[in-house]
Amino acid sequence: MKTSYREAMRAALREALAADPRVFLMGEDVGKYGGSYAVSKGLLEEFGPERVRDTPLSELAFVGAGIGAALGGMRPIVEVMTVNFSLLALDQIVNTASLYRHMSGGQFSVPLVIRMATGAGRQIAAQHSHSLENWYAHVPGLKVLAPATVEDARGMLAPALADPDPVVIFEHAQLYNMEGELPEPWTRDIRSAAVRKQGSAVSLITYGGSLPKTFAAAELLAKDGIDAEVVDLRVLRPLDDATIMASVAKCRRAVIIDEGWKTGSLAAEVMARIVEQAFYELDAPLARVCSEEVPMPYARHMEEAALPQPAKIVAAAKGLLR
């Protein structure tokens, strides 16, 4: 069935709300407005204001309320409009949700799902274009997901809700309009990375909004006779080392594509793990394509120049081959 990423996510929400009375959706504009990215459009009408709740503009407050509800036995889905605003809720997420199991000596857990949009590319300037997935992937006690396909938009929410600990789901804003075929049945896995395209010459490892750009790069490389493999990390914490290492062992060259800034990036973490675990498989230095280390520019051409692009990925891959 052909569907969009947005529709797939909405279908997942609808299924969750219908399946379990403990599940409710909460966040800024998720109700009457139908969600900033129109993901929850129609859910208020379908499930009512008790289960699809608009919140005041205080991320700290409503994420905290979500933690309380989870501790009280509910299964809340908290939508933080974008990762940019999640910084206001960092204390709740990092200091409370992720640590509660530890601080309570295992007596309490926080079965909370936090969804947020992430990424740049729509000319909404520096304060609204962050890719801070890595900040959350740094924290023990959290699971961090990055659905990058229609299938994962549809399939990752249910296992996230079933998880007894807090799960953060990053939805790249550039992906909502993306259409794709939803296989039947769709995968419900939130443990492993996925090889999206088999290849042999170079492993292109990416996640989230950079996946379509990486596919485009793989096509360009194929025209030059370079058979690239595309690995979608899907789960940013904990990373699926086995899939990464298997791909690197096969291709022996890897480019990591990450919309985050280079310094201290998730790409850096992946590279470090490859060097730790697959050093002797490498036939070339590792390379990465990250965002330029500048505040995200507003002007379109400058924003495009600052972000990973297929041409940059192609150049990085070719640099490893010769």
Partner: protein, 357 residues
């Protein structure tokens, strides 16, 4: 900074194939040190370097065939600032594979990023020896001999002289001296003949050297090329250096070593390029006399036939004595028959005074 160029290892050599470097960047080298193994049509030759210094850069890659005179490496003079010798960049996987396949990564040309050695490079290097073993050494050597000998007969107006030389004094002297030597240290008549030629040449510098660019140039020393036939056919005539200054036992050891190495195909570049004259001895299996073809650019060749019992008239009596026929092939551009005759006569007399040898 000095350039190390592929030397000509003989008149018949115009190119060579680098088989192996014996040094790497950063190594200090001394004059005369073997730095490379180069395949010529005749043999795998250990090439020596002629300057002290520090290897700065190896330019020629093993497996490359290059013309004589090609700059193969650069040397920094002793004390000259040397760029830090970098380890050859190689990918971790290539290093691992090189270790598994026993490939020397320092000798593999890299094709990866920054010239790094890649897995593919190692795999190619690992299969190369089998492929490289293909050239037919015998055919190559035949070609090389054909080229040199044709040039000799085309360019050199040979004259030939011969003289029967009694050897009873020399052989008696040798037998007495050898009685005091251990079996393995015994000196053979061939070494004595070589020494006699070398000592005689001191008085005939015009037979010891090269004809180059229309003029004779005498050799810097008396480096006698010894014709050595190879088991698989063909021959080489590498030099023993300064034969006139070697003691007999020393010369015998040098001769034995040279023959052994020539047959094993591991000669040094100076041995190939330095002979100032050639001596060919057919030995016991040979015939009475040999009139050799001069090896250009040398100007003379001395031949010794088989030593045989002959009737010898001496001091008014006739007796049987061992006699060898010595011959001289001379380059008429560099010397005349009269001069050559005096040389052979002097050689004859020298061999009657074996105690001087």
């Amino acid at each position: 900074m000095t350039d190390f160029k592929l030397p000509s290892l003989g008149a018949d050599m115009d190119q060579g194939k680098l088989l192996e470097w014996k040094v790497k960047p950063g190594d200090a080298v001394r004059r005369g040190q073997v730095v490379a193994l180069v395949d010529t049509s005749k043999a795998a030759v250990e090439v020596e370097i002629w300057h002290d210094g520090v290897v700065q850069e190896l330019i020629t890659k093993p497996g490359e065939t290059i013309p004589v005179g090609t700059v193969m490496a650069r040397l920094a003079a002793p004390g000259e600032a040397v760029a830090t010798a970098l380890r050859r960049p190689a990918s971790p996987a290539a290093r691992k594979r090189a270790h598994e396949l026993d490939v020397d990564i320092e000798k593999v040309a890299g094709t990866g990023p920054h010239g790094a050695v890649t897995l593919e490079d190692i795999d190619k290097a690992a299969v190369k020896p089998a492929a490289a073993a293909a050239p037919d050494r015998q055919a190559e050597m035949r070609k090389a001999i054909a080229a040199a000998m044709s040039r000799s007969k085309r360019e050199i107006p040979h004259y030939y002289l011969s003289e029967a030389i009694p050897l009873h004094r020399a052989l008696d002297h040798l037998a007495r001296a050898n009685a005091a030597r251990p079996v393995t240290g015994r000196v053979l008549i061939g070494a004595l003949q070589l020494k006699a030629v070398a000592l005689t040449l001191r008085q005939f510098p015009d037979l010891n050297g090269f004809w180059r660019d229309g003029a004779f140039r005498s050799g810097a020393g008396i480096h006698v090329g010894v014709a050595i036939s190879l088991r698989q056919g063909g021959l080489v005539a590498p030099a023993i250096h300064d034969v006139d200054r070697l003691g007999l036992e020393e010369l015998m050891r040098a001769l034995a070593d040279l023959v052994k190495r020539a047959r094993a195909g591991s000669l040094r570049s100076s041995e190939m390029s330095d002979p100032t004259i050639t001596v060919t001895a057919l030995g016991e299996q040979g015939v009475e006399a040999v009139f050799g073809v001069i090896y250009p650019p040398q100007v003379a060749l001395v031949g010794f036939g088989r030593i045989a019992e002959r009737a010898l008239a001496e001091d008014g009596a006739l007796r049987a004595a061992p006699v060898v026929t010595a011959t001289l092939s001379g380059d008429h551009r560099a010397s005349d028959g009269h001069r050559g005759a005096r040389f052979l006569a002097a050689l004859r007399e020298q061999l009657q005074r074996p105690e001087e040898l």
